[in-house]
Structure formats: C-alpha cells, structure tokens
C-alpha cells in the first residue's frame, strides 16, 4: 500500500512540475509519466487489495491515456507546426507552479477531513493526490493560452477524478471506467482534429483571441 | 533606590541645561557645551541601566509634579535597562558626531534649533522607556513625536521636507490617538494607570489590545503603515535619522514587549495579526530597499524589513503564551529584544556613515557617488562592518539575533499543536531567507556603488576627508557591534533569567569562539594580502582600454532584475518629454524622469485621504459663520445633555 501511495503522490508531483514549464512537448512527456505512475499504482492496488477489475483497467489506462493520447497529441503538434511554446496568461509560469504547490496542502487538509472505511487502507495519499491533480488541471487550464494546453489540463483533471474514484469506490465498475476511457479517447481525437482545423482557419491556436467572436 | 532617582534627576537636568544652552548661549559655545552635556547625560543613562540591570527600582516625582492624582512615576527594570543601554551608546555616538556634521551643513541646518530639539528628544526617549504609568508614557511619547518631527523638518525650505513633515506628523497623530484610546479602554477595565498592571489578559482585553498594537505598528513602521519612514529619513539630518531609526522605532517594540511579557489567555488573534504583518513588512521592506537609489531611503526600507523580523518574533512569543509553551514565549521575546538592540546599533552606524558621506559630498544619491575608497577609507571600513552586520553574516551581531529569530520559528514549527502554524513557520523561514538575500543585494549595491569604482560626478571626485570626530563616533558603534556579537550568549541568558522566573534554557551557538576564529582568519588574510603589493594597470575589461566614469555599475541597473520580477509591487513611472521643432523626427531635447510610485499610496492612502477631504468639505457646511447657528448648536446640546443627565 505504501508503494501505491508513493506512486500516486509522485504522479501529483509530476503534474505540478508540469505546470512549471511552457514547453508543450515537455508538458506532454510529464503528462505521460504521470499517467503511467497512476496506472502502476492501479495495478499494485489491484494486487494488494485483490480488486480484480483493476487488473484490466490498469493496462488500459497505461495504453490509452499514457501512450496513445500523448503520441497522438504530439503528432498533432507537429502537424500544426507553429510553435511548441506556450507562454502563460494572467500569471507568470513559475508563479502558476507555486500556486499549484500551494493547493497541495489544501488538498491534504481536505483529504484528512474525510472519513475512511476499513476497506480503504492508505487512501489519504490517494485522495490528496486526486484532489491535487484536480486543482493542478484547473490551474493549468486557467493560466495557459494555447488550445493544446487546455486539452492537457483537461486530461490532468480527468486523471484526478479517476484517481479519486478509484480510491473511494469499493469495486470500480469495469464498464464505467471503460466508458470513461472511451469518452476520453474520442474527446482527445476530436479535440486534436479541431485544433488542426482551427489552425488552418485562423493561423493560430491562441484561445485568448476567441473574444473577437463576441458581438458588440 | 534613591541613587537611581538622583541619577535620573541629574540626567534630566543635564538635558534641560543642554536645551537651554542651545537656545540662549552665544554660537561659539553651543557645540562643545551641548556635546559635552549630551555625552554626560548619555553616560548617566548608561549608569542607570547598569545599576538596574539586576534589581528593578521604582520612583516618582514629588507632589507638585503630578497629573491630577496620578504621580509622574518611573520604573527601571531588566526590560528598561536593556533599551536604556542602547539609547546611551547611540546618544554618545550621535553627540560626538553632531558638531562636525553641523559644521558642514551650516547653510540649512540651524544649530540652535537642532541642539534644542535633540536634547529634548533624547530626554523624551529616556522618559518613555522609564515611564511607569500610562500618563507619563503618553506625555513623553508626545514630546518624542514633536521633537523628532521638528528635527525632521530642520530644512524647512524644500517641498520634500514639507511633505515629509505632513506625512510624519499625520502618522504620529494616528499612532498616539490609537494608543490613547487603547490605554483609556484598558484603564476602564483594570482601573489602574500603572503600566505593570496593564499586561494583556485576553480575551476580555481584545479590543484595547488590537488598538494599542495598531498604534505601535504605525509608530514602528510596520506594513502597511510604514509609508512615513521613507519620507522622514531622507529629510532628517543623519544623526537624527540614526536616533530615529535606531531607538525611536524600537519604542513601540518595547511597549509591546512589556505588555506581552506577563500576558495570559488566548493571544491568538494578536499573534496571527502580528505574524502576518511582520512577514509581509520584512518582504516589502527588502524588495523596496533593493531598488532605491537614494541611500537614506534604502536604509529606511531596510528598517521596515528589520522591524518586520522583530514583530514576527513577538508574534511567536504570543503564540507561545497562547499554547502554554513558556520556552517558546521566552525564545520569541528574547529574540525580538536582542534583534532590537543589535539593529539599533548597526542601523545607527550605517546612518552615521551616511552622514559622513553627506558631509563630504553633500549628496547621498547613489547614482552620483563612487570611488570614495580613496577619500573616505575609514568610513568605508565602518560602513563595511555595518553592512556585514545588517545582512546578518557571522560572526557579527546581526547574525546572532537573526539566528535566535530563526530558532524561535523552528521551535514554533516543532511545538505548535496545529499543523497550520507549523506550515506558517516554514513559510516565514523561507521568506526571511529571501529577505536576507535581498538585503545582501541592497547593501552590496550601496557599498559597491558608493565606495568602489570610479567617481560618477564632480561632487564625488572632490570629496573631502571627513572630520576625525565622525570616524570616532562610527568606530564606537563598530566596537559596540563587535562586543554585542561576542557576548551574545551572556546577554541572552541574562535577559532570560531576569525576565522569566523559571530557568528556561535557550539554544545557543558558541559565539565567542566563532567571533575570535573568524576575526583571526580575517586578520591573517589581511596581513598576507597586504604583504605584497601588485602592479597596477587600468581595469582589464577584456582589453577595451580606459573606462570612463559612466562605464560602470549604476544603482538602478544593479537592481533592475528585481524591478522586473516584482514589477507589480515596485512601480516606476517614467515621464518622457521630447522637445524641438519637429518632435517626432528631429528631437532636440529629450527629458526622461523616473519616479517610484508607491502602490500603497496610490491604491489605499490616496483614496482614503481623498474621501476624508470630501467628507470634510460636506461637514464644513456646518460652520456657516453665523452666530445664530452656533447659538442654536449650543442650545440643542444643552437640551440633550439635560435630558440625558436627568435620565441616568
């Protein structure tokens, strides 16, 4: 169980470190690592707690969210070809990372104020990591310009929700999780293709320019 | 007991005589007599402090001198004598320094007014520290504010001094009124004017405690009330700034220490307020100190930073009282007191060095100084020791007291029952590390730009050697700093034993060993380095040849990155005016003026004062000038009072 917690928290830490960089390829790499750690945590939890379904979910998460999605998004980036760097908006990039770090003790306080059942050994770490991933995803989306960063932030948010669900539910229904994964896959593919189309129409993928569509 | 009261009376009279001499004696006699009188007075204060260091004593003036039925009482105990010792050392240095300073500034400093106000200022400081009851305290506090204000404005012609006077007097008015209100409220709870009865017993004293704390924060220069410091210090003459920054802003710290010393109850709101204000003050002061180009403003912001450190240590002491941890309380209080003492010493030293530079070059703008290592070598050495002390480097006294403050924060992190307080202790330690590094930047800039390199202006080129009395005054303070560093453990343990009944062990570093080892290393290095004298040539600079005076570091460029990183806080407003026939294409004259705009003034104080002005304009309609209207006011008030009076 200890290893599970270490992997989950390491995933959350990698997400926070991801906020500190504006290089899109580095963000995708760190996102991939983060998802891999969560998948490993799922697998070990399956072994320790004897939740058989998680044996199926873990490789799915690792394969789809950990490998396919980052590779697909990197391909999209290359096809767009404009720039691999996203400068932040509202907050400077290091300050947004520090804000994400500041939310870590808040998520710990939230996690320790929940009550846990006996069949949930060692879930404070899991809930902390999940809530922190949630906040980190939102902060990432709030402080970035490019549409690709919005997708990465959304995926991190998704990771957090997944982690939170995995620690709270006794038997995570396999169908639900597979459905969620399918949704994510489809959403990412659509998102990637839309970004491509946006780039073709507007010559850039800067979401702050969306407000020119406002009618006045 | 009566020896102390005779000593006090003697010092009192000496200062009054000095004030009288300043007003009435012929001009030639003023400087030597006043210096001698002040030095004597300071020595008498030192005697009082040494005699009462182990045994407290109390006395009051006789019957004709009383406020109604409250006597003018004084009490000297361990806490007082600590600050009195600081006052005496700094006053002696200032007294030795002042005549030479006045001689070089004779065009706009009136020496009569200066000596008169200075004597009364030191007298009032002594009175405030020794006051035993609230009324005596407030009277001497007012005298202190008034005389220091008069000293700030000695150069009455410039607009800067006028604005400084308004801001300074406004701040002291606010502080005194808050203090007065708080003490009156406390009197209604405790029914005694004596200061020793008035220690905080929360929660029933929460209201007055907050009022008194706010009043003390305004006077001490805690964020966000610190704006008067950067106005007052550049205008005041250097010895006055030394006294103000060294002693006067410690008076509120002394008052808070006294009120917190035997406090009891749940001091948590007070502690949280002081902790937050202290950490923010130190950060704010450090940031602003780095970007200043005027040396005295740099020192003023650095005072804000150090006051933040002391206030945070006091907050740790309050937390110790709330959580019933006497060890923590002792550590916090002693750290605050020790830092107050040490800061008084090295800040006065730095201000006196500023005064020396000012006397030689008649300006303190870092952008125009430079190359003073040839002209003012002894001042450079004293300045270096002062800068090393204020940046808290071992083995000097700044390091010793900052180390104790860090120890108190570490102990707070270890022992507080709530994780939240441990987390805030960590944040405070990280902030203080940042603040220390920023003050390193500020003072390496001040030292490097002023003393090293080539002179940047004619005034710096033609700087004259300073008078020996100025160097003696600084050397006295350097010796005091070194002594305080050497004897830190002894002083801290003594203070702890005196102030707290039980024997509470304090963490300690082997300071004497550290001091002697590092000083001997320094002396060995100096001997070895000066044994050979190398060949001299022009600065290498990758072979570009002789450099002009403009081709070196400038104060603003050194701190430029800080300006950029913290540009939301440190705002520089540049006004550009381009003149000429065809301004856009063929400019003839380009004038650029950069002014630092203070965030607090623009966003908080400006609108606040504007609102007060508008309200006053409306209220002034009540004063219509008609006698009948005033008679109606009197009539209505009379009726109301009669009704209320007969009802109760």
């Amino acid at each position: 169980m200890m290893l599970v917690e270490i992997l989950e928290i390491a995933g959350a830490l990698f997400a926070i470190l991801m906020v500190g960089s504006g290089q899109l390829r580095l963000n995708l790499t760190l996102f991939a690592w983060q998802t891999m750690m969560l998948a490993a945590a799922t697998a070990i939890q399956a072994k320790v707690l004897h939740h058989e379904e998680l044996y199926i979910i873990a490789p799915l998460v690792a394969g789809i969210k950990g490998l396919l999605v980052p590779i697909f998004l990197t391909w999209i980036l290359r096809k767009i070809g404009s720039t691999y760097f996203d400068q932040g908006i509202i907050l400077a990039i290091p300050i947004s990372m520090h804000v994400a770090v500041a939310f870590l003790p808040i998520s710990y306080l939230l996690a320790s104020s929940l009550s846990y059942h006996s069949w949930q050994p060692g879930t404070i770490g899991g809930v902390t990591a999940g809530t922190s991933l949630l906040f980190t995803g939102i902060i990432f989306m709030l402080t970035r310009r490019k549409a690709m960063s919005q997708i990465i932030g959304f995926l991190t948010l998704e990771n957090g929700i997944y982690l939170f669900g995995m620690t709270q539910t006794k038997d995570m229904p396999l169908i639900v999780e597979m459905g969620v994964l399918l949704d994510v896959l489809v959403a990412v593919m659509i998102g990637g293709l839309i970004i491509f189309k946006i780039k073709q129409s507007f010559e850039h993928i800067d979401v702050t320019q969306l407000n020119v569509l406002k009618e006045d | 007991m009566h020896i102390i009261s005779w000593l006090f009376l003697a010092s009192f009279l000496v200062f009054i005589v000095a004030a009288g001499v300043a007003l009435f004696a012929p001009p030639k006699l003023i400087a030597p007599v006043c210096t001698a009188a002040q030095a004597t007075g300071a020595l008498l204060i030192l005697a009082i402090s040494i005699l009462t260091i182990s045994e407290p004593s109390q006395w009051h003036l006789g019957n004709p001198f009383a406020f109604g039925n409250v006597p003018i009482g004084f009490k000297a105990d361990a806490l007082n004598s600590w600050f009195l010792a600081l006052l005496s050392v700094v006053s002696i240095s200032v007294a030795i320094f002042a005549p030479a300073y006045l001689k070089t500034h004779s065009e706009h400093l009136h020496s009569r007014l200066f000596w008169f106000c200075l004597s009364l200022f030191i007298l009032s400081l002594q009175g405030v520290f020794l006051a035993d009851n609230v009324l005596t305290l407030l009277v001497f506090w007012e005298l202190m504010s008034f005389t220091s204000g008069a000293l700030v404005v000695t150069d009455t012609s410039s607009r800067k001094a006028q604005k400084a006077a308004i801001v300074y007097f406004g701040a002291t008015r606010m502080a005194t009124s808050l203090l007065g209100a708080g003490f009156l409220w406390l009197f209604s709870i405790t029914h005694s004017w004596s200061l020793s009865e008035m220690h905080f017993r929360l929660p029933e004293m929460l209201g007055p405690a907050i009022l008194i704390t706010l009043g003390c924060c305004i006077k001490a220069g805690v964020w966000p009330f610190h704006i008067w410091l950067p106005y007052a210090h550049p205008c005041a003459p250097a010895p006055v700034s030394a006294l103000m920054s060294g002693i006067m802003i410690k008076v509120p710290i002394y008052l808070l220490c006294r009120l917190v010393l035997s406090a009891s109850g749940d001091l948590l709101p007070l502690a949280i307020l002081l902790f937050a204000l202290g950490v923010i003050s130190s950060f704010w002061g450090a940031i602003f100190a780095v970007v200043q180009s005027e040396y005295k403003q740099l020192l003023a912001y650095s005072s804000v930073e150090n006051i933040g450190l002391m206030i945070t240590a006091l907050a740790v002491a309050c937390l110790g009282i709330s959580f019933n941890l006497p060890q923590l309380e002792a550590l916090g209080l002693i750290a605050a007191l020790l830092h107050a003492f040490n800061h008084g010493l090295f800040k006065s030293l730095l201000f006196l060095s500023a005064g020396t530079i000012d006397s030689s070059t008649h300006m303190l703008n870092l952008e125009q100084l430079g190359g003073l290592h040839n002209k003012l070598p002894k001042t450079m050495f004293c300045f270096l020791i002062g800068a090393l002390a204020i940046c808290a480097f071992p083995p000097l006294n700044g390091f010793a007291s900052k180390w104790l403050i860090y120890q108190s924060l570490f102990s707070m992190a270890l022992n507080s029952p709530n994780k939240l307080f441990a987390g805030s202790a960590f944040i405070a330690m990280g902030t203080f590390a940042l603040v220390g590094a920023l003050s390193l930047m500020a003072f390496s800039k001040a030292f490097g730009v002023a003393f090293l390199g080539r002179p940047r202006s004619k005034a710096a080129e033609h700087a004259k050697e300073s008078a020996p009395s100025m160097v003696v005054a600084q050397a006295l303070l350097v010796a005091a700093c070194l002594g305080s560093a050497f004897f830190t453990t002894v002083l801290a343990n003594h203070l702890g034993a005196q102030l707290f009944a039980q024997n509470l062990p304090l963490p300690s570093l082997p300071m004497p060993l550290l001091c002697t080892s590092m000083l001997s290393i320094a002396i060995i290095c100096y001997v070895v380095a000066s044994s050979t004298s190398p060949r001299r040539a022009s600065t290498w600079e990758c072979g570009y040849g002789d450099l002009s005076k403009r081709m070196q570091v400038s104060s603003r460029s050194y701190a430029h990155t800080i300006e950029l990183l913290f540009s939301t806080l440190v705002r520089f407003v540049e006004t550009l005016s381009i003149g000429g026939q065809d301004r856009r294409h063929f400019p003839e004259q380009i004038k650029s003026h950069t002014v630092q705009s203070s965030l607090l003034e623009v966003w908080i104080y400006g609108p606040l004062i504007h609102m007060i002005r508008i309200i006053s304009q409306y209220l002034s309609k009540l004063q219509a000038g008609s006698i009948h209207l005033y008679l109606i006011y009197v009539f209505v008030t009379l009726i109301v009072l009669l009704v209320v009076g007969t009802k109760t």
Partner: protein, 312 residues
C-alpha cells in the same frame, strides 16, 4: 589503526577528491564532445601556472579587491569543516544549518565586492545576476535544510544525518526531495549549465566568470581553488542526504557510507557533465523559471515533513 585509516581517508577526500571530481567532469564532457580531455592533475597544473604569474590589479580597485579573494578562500576552508559533507569528518560549531547558509552568503558578499571593485561593467553584470540568483535560490535551500532538520528536531545538520531512523519511511521523501532541491540549487550556486556556462563570460553567461574576470595571479588561484572546494562541499552534502535516504531502507555501515560518499560525489560530477553537454544555456529571463523548480522541490520536502496519516 582506525585513526590512521580515518586520517588517510580525510586527506584523500579533501586533497584528492576535488581533482578526481573535476577530472571526471571534464573527461565526460570531452568524451561526449568527441575530444580527449585534460589529464587528472590538470587543475593542479593550472593552479601552479596561475600562482607563478604576476598579479595585476586595477588602478581603481581598493585593498578590498585582493582581500576578497583571500576571504573567499578562507571562508570556503571554514565551510569545509562546518558542513557535514563527509562522514568521519569533525564538524565545527554544531554544523548549524543557519550558520551554513549565512556563511555561504558571506562568501557571496565578498565575491560580489571583489567583482564590483575596480568599477568594471562585466563585474557589475556578473554580480547583479549572481545576487539575484542567490536571492531566488536562498528560500529553496533554507526550506530544504529546515525540512531535513525538522525530521531530527534540531537545527544541527550533522545530528540530522546521524539519526538512526531505519524503516521510518515517512522520512524517506523528505531526504530525497531535499537532495533533489539541493542539487538544482547547487547547479545555480556553482554556475553550471543551464544557468551559466563555466567556459565563457560574455553576454548570456555573465554570472560567475564575469565576477572573477579582473583577478590574476595568486588571487585567481585562490578563487579557482575555492570554487573546486565549494563543488566538493555541495556535492558531498547532497550525497550524504542520498546515503541517509538509502539508510532508511536498509542499514548501512560506516565503511560503506565512506565509500559510497566518494562514489556519489564522482557520480554527481559525471551527471553534471552530462547535463552540461545536453542542455542549452537558458536565456537570462528564463532563469527564474528554472529556479522555481528548485523552490517547488523544497516546498514538497517541507510539506512531506508535516503530513501524517499516510501509510508510509
């Protein structure tokens, strides 16, 4: 017998290890750049060459110029005996963490004074950048050391390293995260890539080299020797942290610690060389972003001291 071995080990570590570390660092860089690289004793040859040269000092410099070089060297020597960077080494003054941090600060102050003396613009740039980088990394170093001291409940780093906390796994993340944060901070302190290129002193890389550009002869030799010793101290401290983290998982004897220290110091210099060969020097505006990572790791370290209730 034991004291003989200990003294041989100490002499080897203090005198020989700087050469070994620098040699391996330069050799790795050279191999990655398809060169042969300098021999083992190259730093010694450089030192001897520099000492034998004449010293030339600027006309505008004061006596503080040469004095700063001497101070820098002697404070580094003092640090050698205060910081617990080597097992079996006597530590002075309780290895107090605040003393360590402020002695490093004193070192920096005199380096800055030496750089500003003589009024050279290069020195101005270098010292300004050095001061701002120090200001940004100081909270990170402080928090990392305080977090580690918190686990031992004392500000004495030597006693924090000496504590026996085998199988207290909640201390493990603290030591690892503090070691990472210290490594990144030492990249800044030692002016290595990606903060500053130790080979050049122009424009982009004006931090450390620019400060020492005016020095020559004996003073320059002292500063270069101080630099090598500083690298040793910082890498040694980081390796002590890593060894302690290892000691939490399985018990380690003193002999193993001693050997592991040497191995880890050498590995850290090789890793630094690899980082130097594969990263680009960051533009000056981007340096605060790199330093922010250091601060994040320190925050993580101090947060992990405060949590409880994890199954660690």
């Amino acid at each position: 017998m034991k004291t003989l071995f200990i003294s041989i080990y100490l002499v080897f570590a203090i005198v020989g290890l700087p050469f070994l570390a620098l040699f391996l660092l330069r050799k790795t860089k050279a191999i990655l750049q398809n060169r042969i690289g300098p021999p083992l004793l190259q730093p010694l040859y450089d030192l001897i060459k520099t000492i034998r040269k004449d010293e030339v000092v600027s006309k505008d410099a004061s006596y503080l110029f040469r004095l700063s070089a001497f101070f820098v060297f002697s404070i580094t020597l003092l640090l050698l005996f205060v910081v617990p960077w080597l097992p079996l080494k006597p530590n002075l003054f309780h290895s107090d963490l605040f003393l360590i941090i402020y002695l490093f600060g004193l070192l920096r102050f005199f380096a800055i004074i030496g750089g500003l003396d003589g009024g050279s613009p290069f020195g101005a740039f270098g010292t300004s950048r050095e001061a701002i980088l120090a200001a940004l990394t100081e909270p990170a170093i402080m928090l990392a050391l305080v977090a580690v001291a918190f686990t031992a409940k004392s500000t004495n780093i030597a006693s924090a390293l000496a504590q026996v906390d085998w199988h207290q796994f909640n201390h493990l993340p603290v030591w690892l995260l503090a070691a990472t944060s210290l490594y990144l901070a030492s990249l800044v302190e030692l002016s290595r890539m990606p903060i500053d290129d130790p080979n050049t002193h122009l424009e982009l890389t004006m931090v450390h080299e620019a400060m020492m550009i005016e020095y020559s002869g004996l003073s320059l030799a002292l500063i270069q020797a101080a630099y090598a010793l500083r690298m040793l101290i910082l890498f040694g401290l980081i390796s002590q942290f890593l060894i302690h983290a290892l000691a939490i998982i399985l018990p380690i004897s003193l002999l193993t610690t001693a050997i592991l220290t040497v191995v880890l110091i050498i590995s850290l210099s090789i890793i630094t060389a690899i980082i130097e060969s594969f990263t680009v020097k960051l533009a000056w505006r981007k340096n605060p972003e790199f330093v922010a990572f250091t601060l994040s790791f320190s925050f993580f370290a101090s947060l992990s001291t405060l949590v409880e209730g994890l199954s660690l």
